[in-house]
């Protein structure tokens, strides 16, 4: 298929693999930020084509995985109300909260709907004026523009029955949190291609310079990832720490200015808690005061929710690249996609789910 098959060519993959073998002289630890990249690495077996000296660690870029448990419990509380239609991306429906998940709320009579875009939720709000429509706005910079557009349009249309449960997070603060942690092992990054398609990559330059780490904006197909690794290793071997762009077919230095403007108009940067990691200052987005009428957390009474994280889940260490999924004592035993203890086992972008699906026998 055009624009897909070209990036899965086995001969070129072998060439890139050989090139990486050729240039690697020392051990390096590289983190791929995005869960989509983690999944592609494990699905296509990209890690098996690399020299033993290269270790890939999996980053925090899975929106489902980093959404804090408190926020999922809030979603469950709102979704269980009779007067609401709770809309969410499909991936969030199976994530366990403290006691249940959205699919179970649906089974118990809640009106929980899977949508493909927040604009679909907006349409549902227009069609159901007597009910409250909530969209679970999770994700990184990638999903923020569409969510901002939905709120912006709701305001223009004068819709009173639409709101967002916002749990937006930002990539650069998370990278800084990882780099400044005492247990950090990461020496180079593959930055998330789709986040950069929206935001551009100039905001990564201060991080590369401050922490002396190479950052390569990388795509999601096997050849993208192999080329991103090759560029990153080359910088590491040569002692350079620059921001380079492998994903030139989608990403420009400045990104999508229209999308960025819309996001800044509707959202402002606030501290956010990351599941398994804790609060990171200035690491998320919240609705601006002008749009507070569309904030589900202010619209509904969310007091009295008790949040309880599983004591056996080490997803926080996995999201920071400190541990690998199969190093968790619960992996594949107490914790499986059928009975997940944490979000990393649920999401199709979660590292534990990727290891469970593709690497259980290795």
């Amino acid at each position: 298929m055009k624009y897909l098959d070209e990036y899965r060519d086995p001969k070129l993959a072998m060439q890139l693999s050989q090139e990486i073998h050729h240039i690697t002289t020392r051990p390096w630890v590289i983190m791929e930020i995005c869960g989509g990249q983690t999944h592609a690495i494990v699905k296509y077996g990209i890690d098996t084509l690399l020299p033993k000296k290269i270790e890939l660690v999996h980053g925090p870029g899975c929106p489902v995985c980093v959404t804090p448990l408190e926020m999922i419990d809030r979603a469950l509380s709102i979704a269980g109300r009779r007067d609401v239609i709770f809309c969410s991306f499909g991936d969030m429906l199976r994530v366990p909260g403290s006691t249940t998940d959205l699919l179970s709320v649906k089974a118990q009579g809640g009106d929980v709907r899977m949508v493909y875009s927040p604009l679909d939720a907006l349409k549902i709000a227009q069609e159901n004026p007597g009910r409250e429509i909530i969209f679970f706005a999770v994700g990184f910079e990638t999903t923020a523009p569409a969510n901002a557009m939905a709120v912006h349009q709701a305001k223009v249309l004068g819709l009173k029955n639409f709101s967002l449960l916002v749990s937006h997070v930002l990539v650069p603060p998370a990278m800084e949190a990882i780099l400044s942690s005492k247990s950090n092992r990461v020496q180079g990054f593959l930055a998330a291609g789709h986040v950069c398609a929206v935001m551009g990559y100039d905001e990564y330059m201060p991080i590369a310079a401050k922490y002396k780490v190479p950052i390569v904006v990388t795509g999601f197909e096997p050849l993208d990832i192999l080329q991103g690794i090759s560029m990153c290793v080359k910088q590491l071997e040569e002692g350079r720490y620059e921001v380079e762009n492998q994903y030139v077919r989608s990403v420009t230095l400045q990104g999508n200015r229209h999308a960025q403007d819309l996001v800044s108009k509707v959202f402002c940067v606030i501290p956010r808690k990351w599941r398994g990691v804790g609060e990171i200052s200035q690491s998320g987005l919240g609705l601006r005061d002008e749009y507070k009428d569309y904030d589900a957390e202010l619209k509904f009474d969310l007091t009295g929710i008790k949040t309880m994280e599983s004591p056996d889940c080490i997803s926080g260490l996995i999201l920071q690249g400190v541990k690998k999924p199969h190093e968790c004592p619960s992996f594949g035993k107490k914790c499986s996609p059928e009975h997940p203890l944490g979000a990393t086992m649920v999401s199709s972008e979660g590292a534990c789910s990727a290891y469970y699906r593709y690497k259980r026998n290795s």
Binding site: V42, Y44, M92, R94, N361
Partner: protein, 346 residues
């Protein structure tokens, strides 16, 4: 869909009423004006509680399946054709020749008679094309809001005219694994109509009867070890079920599995893997290596899309894994899906 007018006096009952399943006159009217028009006249001595069938003295295959698809009509098929081919194909997978089907309707009060007529005609057309007879049936009507328009159950009886035991227990190391065409079309056609997604081309379901392909394989003297239709859970789940039942590992080449370009891009967009997407006219076939070429020759005559393909083989190891050689040449597990595939966030 055929364009015959609905035989019901529209002005009188344009919609299904609870009474149409109540056993009284309205139900009789439904049977006489719709079902017997489509599926043949009542027997001369009247309708009974059961049908009596003449079967040759042979092994028979018996199956049942229920259909709850939404939307009722989708590109390439509808709940009616699906209900016929579903049971026909289940029979065909044991090498049986399908003969008779039962047809159980659960209708929702308020369903348009025109819609029901459309489904009934589609059932008739599908049954004719698969060479099976609808010989018995039942209708119930549930309150409005308690169904999804139409649910259908079909059960089927077929006769087994060959001497093989076709089952996972028969597969052997070295067997070739073949599929009869491209995968993923039915699931993506349904997803696209549910979500209102539009592609440059219309993706039609692969919904089709498989009994003629199976008969041709048997007639050609192919020693069929096992067959499995690739419905819910797709190719990946079917292969895992067989690997587990047989106790052998199976190796599959990702690049050998035919996937149409529009289906592959639909999957890429939704975050689905075509190997897990449902099909309604596709099956996996396990035959001895020496029968690989002749099997492909036979199946290519029945092609309804991309041609049949040799996608893998049964390994010697007895670990019950399905091992996929990925596009770029690395091996990984092809696992059974947990729950449903859900579209990803970004």
């Amino acid at each position: 869909m055929e364009s015959f007018a609905c035989p019901f006096p529209i002005q009188q009952y344009p919609q299904v009423l609870l009474a149409h399943g109540g056993g009284g006159k309205l139900m009789q009217q439904l049977i006489e004006k719709m079902f017997t028009v489509a599926f043949g006249p009542k027997p001369q001595d009247g309708l009974h509680d059961s049908v009596v069938l003449d079967l040759p003295k042979s092994r028979i295959a018996f199956t049942t399946d229920s259909f709850v698809v939404h939307p009722l009509f989708f590109p390439g098929g509808d709940i009616g054709s699906l209900a016929v081919y579903g049971s026909v194909n289940d029979l065909a997978m044991s090498g049986a020749k399908p003969l008779y089907l039962s047809l159980g309707f659960i209708l929702e009060e308020g369903l348009s008679m025109q819609t029901l007529w459309g489904v009934v005609q589609s059932i008739k057309k599908a049954a004719d094309s698969a060479g099976v007879q609808i010989v018995t049936g039942d209708t119930k009507v549930v309150d409005r809001g308690k169904g999804d328009g139409i649910y259908i159950n079909t059960s089927g009886i077929g006769i087994i005219e060959h001497g093989f035991n076709i089952s996972p227990g028969r597969i052997k190391s070295g067997d070739a694994v073949i599929i009869n065409g491209d995968v993923g079309r039915h699931g993506i056609a349904i997803m696209a109509s549910r979500a209102g997604l539009e592609f440059e081309t219309i993706i039609e379901s692969d919904c089709a009867p498989l009994n003629f392909s199976v008969k041709a394989l048997l007639d050609a003297g192919i020693e069929i070890h096992c067959m499995r239709d690739l419905t819910r859970g797709g190719l990946a789940s079917a292969l895992n079920e067989i690997a587990q039942a047989a106790g052998y590992s199976i190796a599959v080449e990702e690049s050998a599995v035919p996937v149409r370009e529009d289906v592959a891009s639909g999957c890429a967009m939704l975050g689905f893997d075509p190997l897990y997407v449902a099909n309604e006219g596709r099956f996996a076939l396990f035959v001895p290596e020496k029968h690989l070429g002749p099997s492909l020759e036979v199946l290519k005559k029945f092609s309804l899309g991309l041609p049949a393909a040799h996608i893998g083989r049964v390994l010697e190891e007895r670990k019950s894994f399905v091992i996929l050689k990925s596009f770029i040449g690395a091996n990984r597990i092809l696992d059974m899906i947990s729950g449903e595939q859900l579209p990803r966030i970004c």
